[in-house]
């Protein structure tokens, strides 16, 4: 069904019948049909191209442990809390993914978030700005910081590690300066900002409609890709696989919706976070800018010789990272209904980096995806939330989060070796 042969009108250098153009090489171990697809996926995993599998397994283990220790962990109420809690730092992690893809790092995302939280609270509450303007000011301050990082990086070639370490301190100072003497600015609980982060949930009907729409979108885009590939005389994914993928996605999303709807419902903020992640994933994988980022992260010199404006890529990525950090800061202020001197400090920054790495974005550049921010932050926040429920001290929480991050980096390094041995990048 999937190997329909269209009328060939191309200048005929190809034989008129036979396998698709990309499966002609006799050395290629061609896998066709559903079982062939499953076999090649199995091989992909064994040879170190494991993608997000270890995170998902790790996440299941973590959830089982916490559920056994305290059943309240998997209650609908706690899962709704978890879905809300993870968004602000998850947004920081999404920005971090971009710099990691370049093989760079941003240690200052937490401070930038703190500055943005302070800016939004001070302009909105103390200075009476309209909310939209206050949010815009906060996010733009983040973009500006990223611009400075990018310019310094390009002009002086200082390692991003050092630039952002300096930024970590300097912008902590800016945060204190903006907050002024009181050190805390409370955002009214009934303001739309706080309501958005804490009290806005989708009615179950809307959630289920979104689930169906997402599954249909995956199904249709998969079928359209197959159509285009078939008409270009390239191999196609078996239709069964496309359908199973869409159904699998629908099942997971519907299950999550069902559980969360037992309590208050699916938080709007969480839905938007997932949508932004999906858009960023598309941006990284399917746009010129995203391809440029992957190329620079893989081999700067090759990217430069290919005519890519490497400096522009660095600059845009530092701006992107700090802008997401600022957005995360606004959400932190929204969720806590306040901006204070400790917003964005402590483990916020390292949790964001840890989330990106745990989710499967390599520290070595050129490998990773936007979804690693989502997966990683679910792991980090589950640990944090679960340990809170067990009334464990934050000392234990720090130690465990540290160990999990170390584990993620070890997996990153070992799979990198295994990929190299098996001939996968």
């Amino acid at each position: 069904m999937s190997t329909t042969k269209p009328a060939r009108t191309a200048p005929g250098e190809l034989p008129p019948a036979g396998p698709p153009a990309d499966l002609l090489d006799e050395r290629l171990i061609a896998q066709q049909g559903l079982s062939g697809w499953l076999r090649s996926e199995g091989l992909r995993l064994r040879t170190g191209d494991i993608g997000s599998l270890p995170v998902i397994i790790g996440l299941v283990i973590i959830w089982v442990i916490f559920a056994v220790l305290n059943p309240a962990f998997v209650s609908a109420q706690n899962l709704v809390n978890l879905a809300i809690q993870l968004v602000p730092i998850g947004t920081l992690a999404l920005g971090i993914v971009f710099v990691l893809l370049l093989g760079q790092i941003d240690l200052s995302a937490g401070s930038v978030a703190g500055v943005a939280a302070a800016v939004v609270a001070v302009t909105f509450v103390n200075m009476g700005f309209p909310l939209v303007l206050a949010i815009l000011a906060a996010i733009l301050s983040g973009s500006l910081i990223g611009l400075v990082y990018g310019l310094v990086f390009n002009r002086f070639g200082v390692p991003s590690f050092i630039i952002t370490l300096a930024g970590l301190l300097a912008f902590l100072g800016v945060q204190l300066l903006v907050l002024g003497n009181e050190g805390t600015v409370n955002v009214p609980f009934n303001s739309p900002l706080v309501q958005f982060a804490n009290g806005t949930f989708l009615p179950p009907v809307v959630s289920y409609v979104l689930v169906v729409l997402a599954a249909v979108a995956v199904l249709l885009s998969g079928m359209q890709l197959n159509r285009r590939r078939a008409s270009a005389d390239l191999s196609t994914v078996p239709l069964a696989v496309v359908v199973v993928r869409a159904l699998f996605l629908a099942a997971i999303l519907a299950a999550a919706t069902f559980v969360l709807s037992q309590d208050r419902g699916v938080p709007l903020m969480f839905v938007l976070f997932v949508v932004v992640i999906a858009i960023m994933d598309l941006t990284i994988k399917r746009t010129r800018w995203g391809r440029d980022i992957m190329a620079v992260g893989g081999n700067v010199e090759a990217a430069r010789r290919a005519g890519i404006n490497v400096k522009a890529v660095y600059l845009s990525v530092f701006v992107t990272c700090s802008t997401f950090a600022a957005l995360g800061g606004v959400l932190l202020a929204a969720r806590l209904a306040a901006a204070n001197q400790s917003t964005g400090t402590g483990d916020v920054n390292l949790n964001a980096i840890a989330a990106a790495v745990i989710g499967g974005t390599s520290l070595f550049g050129g490998r990773g995806s936007a979804y690693s921010a989502l997966l990683g932050i679910v792991v980090i926040q589950s640990i944090s939330n679960g340990l809170d429920l067990l009334n464990l001290d934050s000392s234990i929480r720090f130690i465990i989060t540290g160990l999990v991050t170390l584990l993620a980096v070890i997996i990153d390094s070992t799979t990198r070796r295994r990929r190299a041995q098996a001939g996968r990048a």
């Binding site: 153009a21 090489d25 005389d233 391809r291 081999n299 010199e301 010789r305 005519g307 990929r419 990048a425």
Partner: protein, 260 residues
Amino acid sequence: MTATSPPPVLSMTGVSKRFGAVQALSNVDFQVRAGEVVALVGDNGAGKSTLIKAIAGVNLPDAGQIYFNGEQVHIGSPAQAQRLGIATVHQDLALCDNLDVVMNLFLGSEITRGPLLDEVSMEKESWRLLRELSAKIPSVRIAVASLSGGQRQTVAIARALLGEPQVVMLDEPTAALGVAQTEEVLGLIGRLRERNLAVVVISHNMANVMAVADRVVVLRLGRNNGEYLVADTSVEEIVGAITGAVVHAAPDVPPAEASH
């Protein structure tokens, strides 16, 4: 020599280049025609790379003229060389290991469809190009890291051909390759000639030079030291010119020194 049938695509006369106290090239003449493979040989430091870099726009020569399709041109940057139709495959290939073959081929010149990349068209075009070169690449959707040295060289050459160049320069294309892979790349160079491209190959390997080139240009200590048609010469003769056992003293050497 200029009397032979087609006019040269690229020709250089009296090219000199100096790095500090070193005269890397002095008064070098060089030309290549469409459908011709010219091997540029010489010992280390003979000026091969300097000459290639002058053509590729990486280093500007201090003196001399460059003609492209009969018109005098100034090649001031690599981008300018590419726009003229001169493609260079450097020795270190410059591929992104983390990207697949299609991504590497189209890097920097991707086909887009609205705001998104048109992966289907790029993949189709990749196969067309690789088939034309009879390239042995099992799949274009595997990362370049997993390809053999010869396959990587093939990808780099195919990448150079995407811009529809008239001149292709290959710097040591077989230096790091095994026997079979060398054979593969030499075959590929032959197919570039069949496509009526002007091909310049730098190589130290005389067997490869004799196998693939039509003409051999020898440089020694920054000067022309002989030019041979592969059909009427021997390895010994070329090696003699490289080492200086045979000296083809260019008659116009002494005044060039005085002019600086």
